[in-house]
Amino acid sequence: MQLLIDNVSKRYGANTWALQRFSLELRPGVLGLLGPNGAGKTTLMSILATITRATEGRVTWNGADLATNPDALRTVLGYLPQDFGVYPNLNAVEFLEYLAAVKGLDAASARRRIDELLDLVNLTDVRTRPLGGYSGGMKQRVGIAQALLNDPQLLIVDEPTAGLDPEERVRFRNLLSELSGERIVILSTHIVSDVEATATDIALISKGTLVAHASPEELLRQVEGRVWEWTIPSTELIAAKQKYLISSTTRRSDGVHARVLTSDAPPRAVPALPNLEDAYLYCLSTHRTGAAA
């Protein structure tokens, strides 16, 4: 099982490049795709989900080129887009039955699958209510269910936890981890904690290009010895932000506790254990500095 993204670029209009020479080879596991807003994550997801074509480069699924044979992937694809709608007059069962028919699943096995999925996403009690009355989080769970309808080998989820309450978010993270064993899962998000909890690999994307592709451990190693906890008076915070890259701040009775990302320790700062958010910010900052230079 292999998804190969080979030098893929996507241009909108005359000269707006959403993706540029993006390459990645994926095998079973959860890939966390991280990047700031407008980085090109959703464009990449759309290309991988066969919604839009790449302007340049190619994507292959187990050797089959998606440009000429998109159905090679579509039969084993589960896709949860960032923005999607539902038919308000249908209930959850009817909507999933409809999408099962569109995906070519037979009615009997689809019905059994739908029952299980609705239970999995905690919608069994409201299964017969029209979707028009669902909240945003509930619609998102219907979206998660439809992505799993055809037992996908490639599961692409774009900002899947948006609108979910904390409990449902934890459930979904666990679900992703469990599903990843024999399939490729691509989790696109800007919520670092979602990636931290589930991803076996991380790809950082910025301005349409791949900044880094590594395991979480490898990314964390890059910032080892560069994260400091620094307690300063709140009046000095603005000056500190101008001088250092600060990943977070917490106000306490003794002042502001700032996490600083730098090779040279600020005065009186103490070393801190790096987390993925530190690594993410450090990589993006290094990339921007490099690009500017």
Binding site: A49, V126, E178
Partner: protein, 523 residues
């Protein structure tokens, strides 16, 4: 910030948003063609005993302005009836609702922005009128006032009324959707017919032109009869007379300006029905329809209590069978359910009544009338074909499925044909029983043509409005008024175009396929 500035910014944003759409350009092209038709005598006015005016500035300006106020008041309505809907869909409305803006101000602002869109078309036509006169007129000497005054005093007030009616229809709960699109056509038709009663003050300016030209004609032909027709393809004028334009007296000018105030009044009336983007108004309707338990403050529906162990439950999914077949029929039935789900009881009662009417009516005329009505009844079901995916943003879910194009599109079409066949089943059975093969061919042509037209328009426009407007007009001209060649149901004895409509259905289906193919990244 003062109101004028807010109004200016709102109108500007609305105008730019809509002027950059293809529908605006298409309508503008249509309006220009209409103007070209006036100047080249493809559209003409015949007065009294076969008279028309000599093509000078006054005549070209007046006829083009009257064409604007009649035809553009129909098409233009469908172009601009989306400003409130746009604010709802983009959720800009919720941001506006949280500002101190009053409902009346919003309604008037929407009316003004609708007017700006329609007026821009009129202005383009005014400029085109100069070119038309220079290129095609019998008297090429241009008098700007005589050419442009009818646009300013006849067409613009009519556009203001159209703009205001669009706001009213959008704000009235029952008319803001497809029903309103259908109803407007009949309002427009009745309005044109009824405007005769209003005399010279009616909004389209037809009566004004009629009365002014009649006075001029009586001077040269005292036996001239009282008649006036604005024609596309009717009887041509056989003689000409020189008409030097309207006498714009103060009462006439005031009566035209009065329509601008009436338009503002209609917009203010509309504001009384405006929901101010309150989601409760939408939820109320859904609750009525489905007896929903509406969510409490956080918007969540009641759920069963969660437990800690449940929150980390493992995924227990039965593996699917290895083989997957096409299941096309299953997909057709799902599309059919999607079309019919959500219809109210009275819709089914009406459809059943018409079905029974076509089956048991002893009179052929009554059966025919029932069929004509039966194939109008599901208009709002057909109008969703091909547009539903865009309307409900389900494209990415559906188009990432295997063989989405060759399976789903034909399935929608088949479901649409089934709706037509079911709605007109009574007539079909009667035709079959009476061995009326010619009639049956017409019935088949209708059952195939209607969903094909709906699908093609839905796919290409991405909206239901195009079919709702075009089908209503076509149905009114063709089947209802038995205009030969336009009757796609084959109910006009003189019409023998069933095969042509079957071929047209095939062409439209192919057009829909191409349209969907163009929009998809992949086949």
């Amino acid at each position: 910030m003062n109101s004028a500035h807010v109004l200016h910014r709102m109108v500007q944003a609305d105008f730019l948003e809509r002027a950059r759409r293809y529908s605006f350009l298409l309508t503008l092209a249509g309006a220009l063609y209409l103007g070209y038709g006036v100047a080249t005598e493809k559209v003409w006015v015949v007065i009294g005993n076969g008279y028309r005016g000599v093509y000078n500035s006054a005549w070209i300006g007046a006829v083009m302005a009257v064409c604007c106020s009649t035809f553009l008041s129909l098409v233009g309505f469908y172009v601009v009836k989306n400003s409130v809907q746009c604010d709802t869909e983009t959720r800009v409305g919720q941001i506006l609702a949280a500002t101190p803006m009053r409902k009346s101000f919003y309604a008037v602002a929407k009316m003004v922005s609708n007017f700006a869109v329609l007026a821009s078309m009129v202005i383009v036509l005014m400029l085109a009128a100069v070119a038309m006169q220079l290129l095609h007129a019998e008297i090429k000497q241009v008098s700007i006032w005589k050419l442009w005054a009818p646009f300013l005093l006849i067409a613009l007030p009519a556009m203001a009324i159209t703009a205001a009616l669009a706001v009213l229809f959008e704000m009235l709960p029952l008319l803001n959707g497809g029903v309103g699109n259908v109803v407007y056509f009949f309002v427009w038709t009745l309005g044109l017919a009824g405007s005769i009663q209003l005399g010279a003050t009616e909004p389209t300016g037809i009566q004004l032109l009629f009365r002014s030209t009649r006075s001029a004609l009586l001077k040269i032909d005292p036996n001239n009869k009282d008649s006036f027709s604005l024609t596309i393809g009717g009887t041509r004028a056989v003689r000409t007379f020189l008409w030097n334009g309207f006498d714009w007296t103060a009462p006439i000018v005031l009566s035209r300006v009065m329509w601008m105030y009436v338009a503002v009044g209609i917009a203010l009336l509309a504001s009384l029905f405006f929901h101010r983007f309150d989601p409760a108004s939408e939820l109320w309707r859904k609750k009525k329809r489905a007896e929903l338990v509406i969510a409490p403050a956080n918007g969540e529906m009641p759920q069963r209590p969660s437990t800690g162990s449940r929150s980390v439950q493992t995924a227990q999914l039965t593996p699917l069978a290895a083989t997957r077949n096409s299941r096309f029929l299953q997909l057709v039935l799902c599309e059919l359910r999607l079309m019919l789900k959500g219809q109210r009881w009275w819709w089914y009662a009406g459809a059943a009544g018409l079905l029974i009417g076509t089956l048991v009516s002893p009179s052929a005329d009554a059966r025919e009338g029932c069929l004509i009505a039966a194939w109008f009844w599901p208009i709002l079901i057909w109008s969703q074909m091909g547009a539903r995916e865009a309307r409900y943003a389900t494209q990415s879910l559906i188009f990432s499925s295997p063989r989405a194009l060759p399976r789903q599109l034909p399935a929608i079409w088949m479901a649409g044909v089934l709706v037509a066949a079911l709605a007109g089943a009574g007539a079909g059975v009667r035709l079959l029983m009476s061995d009326d093969w010619h009639g049956l061919l017409g019935w088949i042509a209708g059952a195939l043509f209607i969903p094909s037209l709906a699908l093609a328009l839905g796919v290409w426009s991405g909206r239901s409005k195009a079919f709702e407007a075009l089908y209503t007009v076509w149905w009114y001209i063709g089947p209802l008024h038995h205009t030969a060649g336009w009757d796609f149901m084959g109910t006009t004895p003189a019409s023998s175009s069933s095969m042509a409509y079957i071929l047209a259905a095939a062409a439209l289906l192919a057009t829909a396929y191409i349209g969907r193919r163009v929009r998809l990244g992949y086949a």
